[in-house]
Every structure is written in structure tokens, then in C-alpha cells.
Amino acid sequence: MIRSKKGSHAIRLAPFLLLLLCSHPAQAQSSDAVSLAPAPHGIFVQVGLEPHLVMSLGYTRGISPEGSRPSVGVGAGVKFSPYLLGQGAGRVNLIAAGQWMPHSRWGATATSELYLARGRNRAGTVHGFGLEVRAAPGYYGERWGAAADLGWQGTLLSHFQHSGAARETFDERYPGGAVGGEGPVDGWYGSTAHRFRIGLVGTRSLADGLALQVAAGSRFVVQRQGVLLGFAHGQVPVYLETSLRIAR
């Protein structure tokens, strides 16, 4: 648990400090390795590479009774790629997070995020609803922390609205007057994205209420057809994230 230098006041707030750092948005966010913030409310800012550039902003607040174990918090955030703002691409997250510390300085934080992601490009517009869960078992000290970064993300339901360019890919397939199937099909699709995460996260206290986190690792997809694609197909197996947490 937290070793605060602010006396009894900070010690009572310790569970909520953990809640604050447990509540982080989006798949690109590092787990909450160290509870360093001196207050239950706070914001976070994150910059990452997946390998595309992503940024996240969010706010969390503890909701558990004082001293409860595990401690729980809720929050919300947004994630976006600066290059794609003009296309209306982004992700909104509802966050629930918790921390369990069965032993002094050793425990785990976990987060779950319900999200709505949007993308728009030449092929069409997609809205995806999904769930991301993330756990970080490890060491949580006073000034620094280190933990494993484990997670899974699944977009369970997506709506596709295909563009004219996508529809043109179905043209001219049947010479000689034959008439075949039409496509592509607009509508709702299930289980359109799944990814696993495995990595490491480290946190360092910079000042009271201010912590820096860095996470790095690998992300991969389980293919249904035994097709393992690499970099060329949007499956870069590495990620890098840097987070700054500000608690008040």
C-alpha cells in the first residue's frame, strides 16, 4: 500500500489514490502500476505508438467506501489518433477499475473499458462496440512500481456502412450476362476485432500527485483461418505508451 509522507490524511486517502491510477482509458493505456496521487480525483494524459500515434485523455473517481478491498473506481476517457481527427475517427471509453493488494507492495490492478470506436476511410464508416480488460500484477512501491501488462480487447459488435469505392469492388465480376451475389453488405457484424496484450509497465513518482508511466510489449491477434500476418497488415507486434497522471 501507499507510504504517504503527508501523515494520517494521506493514509486515509490511500485507497482512492489507487482507484485513481487504476482508472485508465483505452487499450493503449498502461496499467496503474503505482498509486502515488494524493487525492481521489484526477486526470490522465497519454501518448502512445501502436504503431500509429495515439493520444488519450480521461478522468477517474473512486467510488468504494474508505478502506474497502479491493478498491474500485469509475471514469471516462477518449482516445484518438491526431492524424485522423479530420476523419472523425476516435474512441470513447467508460472505465471501471480496481486494485487488490493482498500483501504490502505486491498486488494487482485491473481495468475494464466499454468503448465505442469509430473509423472512416475510403472503404466506408465503421462504429464498433467493445470491451477491453487489462491487468497489471506486480510491485507497487512508494516511489516506483513495476508490473506485468496483460490484456485482451474485443470489439463484439460493429456496424459497417460501405462506401461507393467498396461497392465497386463487386462490379464486373460476371462477364457474359451472368448475375451473381451482391455486396458488400451494410449492417451489424459480430466479433470483428480481438487482440491480446502482453508486456511490462513501470511507474515513477515525479512529485506529489504526479506520476509517469511507461509500458511496452507485444500485441497479437488469433486468426480464425490460421493466417498469421505481420507488419504489412496492421499487426505490428509491439506497442509503446507513456502516461502522465495528475491527481488532485
Binding site: L13, L114, A123, V126, A166, G183, P184, G187, V221
Partner: protein, 342 residues
């Protein structure tokens, strides 16, 4: 449910909060909805079905690399005419871009197809993507259409390289060989080739798609090419802008991965022109004057490795526009060169 949330220290204020009651219901709704929705794997939902999935497609079944596979294939003209085989570029591209060459049906029996794993041809396993297997595939198509005749081979980009290897392996089967903007055929050429590269900015959306569409099956992976390919063609245009005038059915993403970057990629000292001195057929290289594979690149890196080859340029054309906005000029070059037009 109400939670007591202490905020301050001395004289603290107690604040009550309500937990989000709708959250479990929302999760349940998502789970229920996910049980009665379409799948990206269902043929035709995202991308056109392949020949093995759609019997209405014009196709040819061939036995290659120990497996029988369906090729999406079209033929034009009189079967009694001399045969011209046409292959598209890639790796992974389909033959829709090559369709303007059907105009040669006035003098040839033109056979155009998408190799296994590309376009609307059947998807195949990783081990079936060897270079030897694609040479075998060409032999199988020739056997089907011109078993006792020499053939004219017209290949674009990667397809040109495949035809070159076939001609090396079967010099007696080839009458004429036309290479339209072949990619780098030598190691030195590969070092200097910049065709098809995707820039940092163009790649952002490609990876962002993983938020809602991961490349977990052939259809999802191939679908992503609809948005990415025009951007990758910047390097092939005169202006450096994306090439949106690119007719396509379906890109073979897995094929591209295996052949361009995976186990069967040409790398190191591999030389597409090895043994080319044994080719007796007339050899022509056609190229535009714009982009990474233009006449300048051909002259500097490919022609020196193709003894006896002639180079003809199509002014103002790029790698893709040779078959779109400059199709007539390209056809004019071919008509001026091909034996059946003399």
C-alpha cells in the same frame, strides 16, 4: 446503490454517488446482439467471394503444388488464334487492372488470370506460395489453353517477374516476352526501389482499423486494402498523390505477406534474371515515365540484366495509369511490337 466517498481530511465532506446501473444492461445487450449478427468471414459480406466460393465466376481448376485450386480466369478472342497469357502485378493484386488488354483479342486468344492466393482466385496455404509453384501454375494454364504452341507472355510488375522465371525454366514454350514495368529484378535494383511504400501519415488509418477490425481472417485482411492500396500507389504517380483510379476486386493480403515479406520472399542475393541468357524469345520492356518503376528505373537497374531487351516508354504514364488513362497508348506500343500484328 449509494457509495460514501470521503473527499477531505479534517471536517471531511461526505459525498454520495450512484453506481452506473445501466452498465450491466448495456453489456448484456452487446452480448445478445453479438449472437445474431453477420460475420466478416461469410463470403461476400466485406469482399467478393473467391472462385472456390462462387461457381459463377469464370475460372479454371489447376493442380499445382500437390493441390487442386480454382483460378479466377478470363479468356478473350478466338481460341484458334495465337495465345497470349497475361499476369497482373502484386504480389496480391488481381487482374482487373489488366482487362484493357483484352483488346488484343483482335489477333490473340488472350488469357488473363489472378494467381492463386490473389484477387478472386482461391486462397492457399503458406507452403503453396513458392516461386516454383507459380511457375508451375503458369505451365498449367498454358497446358490448358496452348499445350502444343508457343505462347506470348505479357506480365505487369510482379507478374512480369513470374513470367521471366517461367521463360527461363521453359525457353522453348515462349515466343515473345513483354515485361510491363517489372519490379526490381536484381539485388541492386531492390536496394534502390521505392515502389509501393506507405508513408507514416498514410499508415495511421490502416493501424487504427484494428480498434474495430483486426486481420483475423482472409476477408478482413483483404478488405483493408480497399483504403490502403490507393495510398501505396503514390510512389507510382507523376504527382505523388494517391492513385484512386485503380480498378480492383480483391487484394490477396496473405499472399502479399508471404511472397513479399515472409518465408518465400525474394531477398538477399536472389536474382530474378538468373539464367535469362537462355531465353530465346523476343524481349520487350514497357514502362511509363512517372513513378518508382518508370523507364528511368528500368534503364538503370533492369535492362542491364536483360540482354537483348528493348525498352519502350509511354510518356506521362505511371505504374497504374498505363492501364487506365494511358491504356490506349500502352496498347499501341504492344500492337507495334507483338508478332501477330506484323
Amino acid at each position: 446503490m449509494r457509495w460514501v466517498c470521503p473527499v477531505g481530511g479534517e471536517g471531511r465532506t461526505v459525498t454520495t454517488m450512484h453506481s452506473p446501473r445501466g452498465l450491466p444492461a448495456l453489456v448484456l445487450l452487446l452480448v445478445i446482439a453479438a449472437c445474431d449478427v453477420m460475420s466478416t468471414e461469410t463470403p461476400g459480406n466485406l469482399v467478393p467471394p473467391t472462385a472456390d466460393q462462387d461457381p459463377l465466376l469464370p475460372q479454371l481448376r489447376v493442380s499445382v503444388a500437390g493441390r487442386e485450386r480454382a483460378l479466377h480466369l478470363q479468356s478473350f478472342g478466338d481460341p484458334q488464334s495465337p495465345t497470349a497469357l497475361v499476369l497482373p502485378g502484386g504480389p496480391g493484386g488481381d487482374h482487373r487492372l489488366m482487362l484493357p488488354l483484352q483488346a488484343l483479342a483482335e489477333r490473340y486468344h488472350v488469357v488473363i488470370w489472378s494467381p492463386r492466393g490473389t484477387g478472386l482466385s482461391e486462397r492457399v496455404t503458406r507452403d503453396e506460395h513458392t516461386l516454383a509453384s507459380f511457375v508451375e501454375e503458369i505451365a498449367a494454364v498454358r497446358t490448358a489453353f496452348a499445350p502444343d504452341q508457343t505462347v506470348t507472355l505479357i506480365g505487369h510488375s510482379h507478374g512480369a517477374g513470374l513470367f521471366l522465371r517461367y521463360a527461363v525454366a521453359h525457353p522453348d514454350a515462349v515466343e515473345q516476352l513483354v515485361l510491363i514495368e517489372p519490379g526490381p529484378l536484381t539485388r541492386e535494383g531492390r536496394r534502390h526501389y521505392r515502389g509501393g511504400a506507405v508513408g507514416w501519415g498514410d499508415g495511421q488509418d490502416f493501424f487504427w482499423q484494428n480498434e474495430f477490425l483486426s486481420s483475423q481472417d482472409h476477408a478482413a485482411a483483404d478488405y483493408k486494402a480497399v483504403s490502403l492500396l490507393p495510398l501505396s500507389f503514390r510512389s507510382f504517380t507523376c504527382s505523388g498523390e494517391p492513385e484512386y483510379e485503380y480498378p480492383m476486386w480483391r487484394f490477396g493480403a496473405f499472399h502479399y505477406h508471404v511472397v513479399a515479406h515472409g518465408r518465400h520472399a525474394a531477398r538477399g542475393a536472389f536474382d530474378w534474371t538468373e539464367g535469362v541468357e537462355g531465353i530465346e524469345a523476343d524481349l520487350l520492356v514497357v514502362a511509363g515515365t512517372c513513378g518508382a518503376a518508370s523507364a528511368g528505373f528500368q534503364e538503370e537497374y533492369n535492362l542491364p540484366a536483360l540482354p537483348g531487351a528493348r525498352l519502350v516508354a509511354v510518356p506521362g504514364a505511371g505504374h497504374i495509369s498505363l492501364f487506365t488513362t494511358h491504356a490506349e497508348e500502352t496498347l499501341a506500343v504492344l500492337r507495334a511490337h507483338l508478332a501477330a500484328y506484323r
